[in-house]
C-alpha cells in the first residue's frame, strides 16, 4: 500500500520545500548582517579621521583662533543687548507725536545711545581684527602641515620602492624639522616622481602649484605656529588690556536716560553682563595662554565631539564639526510630538474597534486607517507643506517646524499603532471576557479591567514599534521639519514644539549625495546612521521582548 518509491518522492519534495524556505530565510539574515557590517565598517573609521582632524585643528592654530572667537562672541552678546535697547527706544520714539519737544529729547537720547553702541562695537572690532590675523596664519599653517604630511607619505613610498635618491633626498627628520617648503622644491620633487614613473604622486605635488607661476619668484609654504604662540604676549595681552580699559572708560562716561522703564532695567542687565565679562577675561586669558599646539588631542575627544557635540558644521572655511546632538534632539523632539498625538488616536481607535464597534463600523474604520499607511510619504510631505504648514502658522512663526513634521508623522504612525494594538486586544481570550460578563461586569468594566490589562504589553509594543516607524521616517521630516541644524531650546517652554529642527534621517538624505567618498563627512553621516540604527534596534528588541512575554502567558 505505501510504496517506498512514493514516500521517497514525497520526502524529496519536503526537502525541496525546506530548502526554498530555508534559503530565503538565510538570505535575509545574510543581507541583514551585511548591512550591519557595512554600516559599521564605514562608520567606525570616522573616529580615527576625527582624531587627526582635531589634531590638525590644534596643530595648525585654528583652535587658538576659535578660543579668541569665543571671547569675541561674548562681547558680541553684550552688543546685541545694546542694539535691542536701541531698537525698543527708537520704536517708542517713532510712536510719539512729530515735532514735539519730547520727541526731540528722545531722539537726542537715542543718538547718544547709538553713539555709545558704535563705540562699543569699534572697541570690540579690535579683537576681531586680531582673530582674523590668527585665522590667516592658521590657514597657512594648516596648508603647510598637510603638505608636510604628504611629503612624509611620499618619502615612505620612495623608501618602499627603493627609489634612487637623487633630487628627493630629504630625510624624515628633516621634513619634521622644516618650517617652510618652497614652490621650487615642490616642483623639483614632482618632476622627480614623474621621472620615476609615479604619476599620481607627481600630480598630487604639482597640484599644489596650480595657481602659482614658479618661474617668477620662490613661493613658500610656512609653518607659522611659533608666530601664533608668540602673538599671545606680543599682541593679545596688550590688546585685551587696552580693550578693557576703553570699555570701562566708555561705560564710565555714559550715563544714559531712557524713555522706557524696560530699557532702564535692560541697561542694568547690560552692565551686569559687562562686569561678568570682565571677570571671565582671566579665564579666556588662561585658556589662550595654556594653548599648546604640540599636545595631541585625547582620543576620547574624538568620540565625545561626535556623541556630545553640539554643532554640525560642514564645508566651513575654518573647522568642520560633526556633533550628533542637534540631529538627535531634533529627531527625538519630532518623535515625541508625533507619539503624543498618535498614541491616544491609535490606541483609542484600536480599543473602540476591537471592543465597542459593531460589524458595520469595523468595516468602515479599519480599512480607512489602514489606507493611511498606503499613502506615499512624499505626498504626506506635500500636504504638510501646502496645507498643514499654513495652519501651523497660527501658533508658530514658521510654516515648517517640528510641529508640522510631528503632526504628519503622527498620521503615519497611527496605522502601525492601531493595527498592532488591535491585534493585541483581539488576542485577549473570549473566555476571559465571558468570565467578566458572567460576574455582572458591563462592557466598559470588562474592557478597562480585563481586556486592556491583559493586552497591555502588546499595546506597549505597538507604541514602541510606532516609535521606530516615526524616528526612521525620512521624506516627511526632510520636507517639513524646517531643516535648521540647532538643538531645540527646551528652556522656551511650549514654543520649543514649533522650532525648525533637522533630523538624523534628514541630514543623511540631504548630504549623502554630495559628500566625497570616504571623506570624514561621509563617515560622519554613516555614524549618524549607526546611531539611528542602534536606537531602532533597541526599540524593536524591547518591543519584541514584550510581545514574546504576552505570547508566553
Amino acid at each position: 500500500m505505501f510504496s517506498s518509491k512514493k514516500s521517497f518522492s514525497s520526502k524529496r519534495k519536503e526537502t525541496w520545500i525546506k530548502t526554498i524556505f530555508g534559503s530565503s530565510a538565510v538570505t535575509s539574515i545574510i543581507i541583514l548582517s551585511l548591512i550591519i557590517a557595512f554600516l559599521f565598517k564605514e562608520g567606525i573609521g570616522f573616529f580615527g579621521q576625527n582624531k587627526s582632524e582635531l589634531d590638525l585643528f590644534r596643530k595648525s592654530g585654528m583652535e587658538f583662533s576659535s578660543l579668541i572667537t569665543g571671547q569675541h562672541d561674548s562681547q558680541t552678546l553684550i552688543y546685541r543687548y545694546l542694539e535691542n535697547i536701541l531698537a525698543n527706544e527708537s520704536k517708542y520714539a517713532e510712536s510719539m507725536e512729530p515735532d514735539s519737544s519730547e520727541i526731540i529729547s528722545a531722539q537726542d537720547r537715542n543718538k547718544k545711545l547709538l553713539e555709545f553702541s558704535r563705540n562699543f562695537q569699534d572697541i570690540k572690532e579690535i579683537l576681531l581684527e586680531y582673530e582674523k590675523d590668527i585665522v590667516e596664519m592658521a590657514a597657512e599653517t594648516k596648508q603647510f602641515i598637510l603638505i608636510q604630511n604628504l611629503i612624509k607619505e611620499l618619502r615612505l613610498i620612495a623608501r618602499k620602492h627603493k627609489l634612487t635618491e637623487e633630487d628627493f633626498s630629504i630625510s624624515m627628520d628633516e621634513i619634521d624639522k622644516r618650517k617652510k617648503f618652497s614652490s621650487r622644491e615642490i616642483e623639483k620633487w614632482s618632476n622627480y616622481f614623474f621621472r620615476q614613473g609615479f604619476e599620481d604622486e607627481a600630480k598630487s605635488l604639482s597640484a599644489l602649484l596650480i595657481n602659482y607661476d614658479t618661474s617668477l619668484a620662490p613661493f613658500y609654504y610656512y609653518d607659522r605656529t611659533t608666530e601664533i604662540v608668540e602673538s599671545y604676549s606680543i599682541t593679545y595681552q596688550p590688546l585685551i588690556r587696552k580693550q578693557n580699559q576703553e570699555f570701562e572708560e566708555i561705560f564710565k562716561n555714559f550715563n544714559p536716560k531712557f524713555s522706557l522703564k524696560k530699557s532702564v532695567e535692560d541697561f542694568r542687565k547690560v552692565k551686569i553682563a559687562f562686569v561678568e565679562y570682565l571677570n571671565t577675561t582671566e579665564l579666556f586669558d588662561k585658556k589662550i595662554k595654556e594653548w599648546n599646539p604640540e599636545k595631541p588631542y585625547p582620543l576620547a575627544d574624538a568620540f565625545s565631539s561626535f556623541f556630545l557635540g553640539r554643532d554640525w558644521i560642514t564645508n566651513s572655511a575654518r573647522q568642520d564639526w560633526y556633533g550628533v546632538l542637534p540631529l538627535l534632539s531634533g529627531s527625538l523632539l519630532i518623535t515625541l510630538i508625533a507619539l503624543l498625538l498618535a498614541v491616544p488616536f491609535g490606541l483609542g481607535s484600536a480599543i473602540y474597534v476591537s471592543q465597542v464597534a459593531n460589524t458595520k463600523e469595523k468595516s468602515l474604520i479599519k480599512p480607512a486607517i489602514e489606507l493611511i499607511a498606503s499613502i506615499p510619504s512624499i505626498l504626506i510631505g506635500f500636504f504638510g507643506i501646502s496645507m498643514l504648514g499654513g495652519w501651523i502658522t497660527v501658533f508658530a512663526d514658521e510654516r515648517l517646524n517640528s510641529l508640522t513634521a510631528g503632526c504628519l508623522l503622527a498620521l503615519m504612525a497611527v496605522p502601525t499603532i492601531f493595527s498592532l494594538a488591535e491585534d493585541a486586544l483581539n488576542n485577549v481570550s473570549l473566555r476571559l471576557r465571558e468570565a467578566s460578563f458572567a460576574l455582572g461586569a458591563t462592557k466598559l468594566q470588562t474592557c478597562l479591567r480585563v481586556v486592556i490589562p491583559s493586552a497591555l504589553s502588546g499595546m506597549i509594543s505597538a507604541v514602541l514599534l510606532g516609535f521606530g516607524r516615526v524616528i526612521g521616517e525620512t521624506m516627511v521630516v526632510l520636507l517639513c521639519a524646517g531643516n535648521r541644524i540647532a538643538i531645540p531650546d527646551f528652556t522656551e517652554g511650549f514654543s520649543v514644539l514649533a522650532e525648525p529642527v533637522h533630523t538624523m534621517t534628514g541630514i543623511i538624505a540631504q548630504e549623502m549625495g554630495e559628500v566625497e567618498y570616504e571623506s570624514i563627512h561621509y563617515r560622519a553621516l554613516f555614524m549618524v546612521g549607526i546611531v539611528l540604527f542602534l536606537i531602532t534596534l533597541g526599540i524593536n528588541f524591547f518591543a519584541q521582548n514584550l510581545t514574546h512575554k504576552i505570547q508566553n502567558k
Binding site: 473566555r431 465571558e434 458572567a438 460576574l439 455582572g440 468594566q445 491583559s454 502567558k553
Partner: protein
C-alpha cells in the same frame, strides 16, 4: 431578595415556589439555525440538576439562556417561549442583564481565571460592583475561598498570580470568584472536562456541599458524574428535551429509548 429588574417596582411576589428557573416552550436560534426547540422544564431550588446529551444537543446553549450570556454572540435570538427566574421573565425589556448575571453565576468549561493575583480574581466581582471597604472585601474573599475549599491551599499566597495554581485549583478559584458575588443560582458548563480524576473528585465534592445554599445546574458529558452529583437529570438530543426526571429514574429506568441508548453508550 433584590430584584434584577431595572426599575425596582415592588411587585407582589409570587408565593415562593420550589422552582428557581422555569423554562416555558423555549425555542432559540443562532441565525437560521434553530438549536433549541420548544423546551419546557423547571429547575428546582437547592437541587443539583444535570444536563446531559451528545455534543451539539443544545444543553450548553440552554444553560447560557439562563443568564443571557448567549446575547454576546451575534445573531443569537429567541424565537418563542420564556425563561422565568424568581417570577420574572428575564427576557423582558426591563431586565438588566448585568443585574441578572450578578444573581446567576457561571463557571466555565475551561478554568479561566483573570491574569491577576488570586486575591484580585476573587475580589473582581465585588470591585466592579463598587464595593470599597477593604475589610468587607477581605472577608468575602476569605469566605468564598473557604466555601470553594481552596482557602487552606492558597491562604499564604493570595498575591501570587492565579496562573501559578494547578488546573483543579484554578477551577475552584473560578468557583470562588463566582461565589463572591453571592449569586442564588450557579450554572456550570462542563466544569470538570479538563481536570484529572483527583481534581474532578474535589470539584464534585464541592458541588455537593454548595447544594445547600445554591441552586446548581451542571452541563456534563460524564454520565457517572451526573449520576454522582445530581438530583435531577435532563437528557437533550438535537435541540429537544427528551427526558427530564430524578437522576435515579433516568439512569435505572429511563422511559425513552433514546435516553437508554445514550446512557448505555450506543451513541454519543
Amino acid at each position: 431578595m433584590t430584584s434584577f429588574t431595572k426599575p425596582t417596582v415592588k411587585k407582589n411576589k409570587p408565593s415562593k415556589s420550589l422552582n428557581a428557573i422555569e423554562v416555558n416552550d423555549l425555542s432559540f436560534a443562532y441565525g437560521k439555525n434553530e438549536v433549541l426547540n420548544s423546551i419546557s422544564l423547571e429547575i428546582l431550588r437547592n437541587k443539583v440538576t444535570s444536563f446531559i446529551g451528545p455534543s451539539g444537543c443544545g444543553k450548553s446553549t440552554l444553560l447560557r439562556c439562563f443568564n443571557r450570556m448567549n446575547e454576546l454572540l451575534e445573531n443569537a435570538r429567541i424565537i418563542k417561549g420564556s425563561v422565568v427566574v424568581e417570577g420574572h421573565d428575564i427576557y423582558e425589556k426591563t431586565v438588566d442583564p448585568i443585574e441578572l448575571r450578578k444573581r446567576i453565576g457561571m463557571v466555565f468549561q475551561n478554568s479561566n481565571p483573570f491574569p491577576k493575583t488570586i486575591y484580585q480574581n476573587v475580589a473582581y466581582g465585588l470591585k466592579i460592583q463598587g464595593v470599597k471597604s477593604k475589610r468587607k472585601i477581605d472577608e468575602i474573599v476569605e469566605n468564598s475561598l473557604i466555601q470553594a475549599a481552596l482557602w487552606d491551599e492558597v491562604k499564604d499566597r493570595l498575591n501570587a498570580n492565579a496562573y501559578e495554581l494547578s488546573g483543579g485549583q484554578q477551577q475552584r478559584l473560578c468557583i470562588a470568584r463566582t461565589l463572591a458575588v453571592e449569586p442564588e443560582i450557579i450554572l456550570m458548563d462542563e466544569p470538570c472536562s479538563s481536570l484529572d480524576p483527583v481534581a474532578t473528585a474535589r470539584v464534585e465534592e464541592l458541588i455537593l456541599s454548595l447544594k445547600e445554599q445554591y441552586t446548581i445546574v451542571v452541563v456534563t458529558h460524564n454520565m457517572q458524574q451526573a449520576g454522582r452529583i445530581s438530583d435531577l437529570t435532563a437528557f437533550f438530543y438535537l435541540g429537544k428535551l427528551i427526558e427530564f426526571d430524578e437522576t435515579k429514574k433516568i439512569f435505572i429506568n429511563p422511559k425513552m429509548k433514546q435516553t437508554e441508548d445514550y446512557i448505555c453508550g450506543k451513541f454519543g
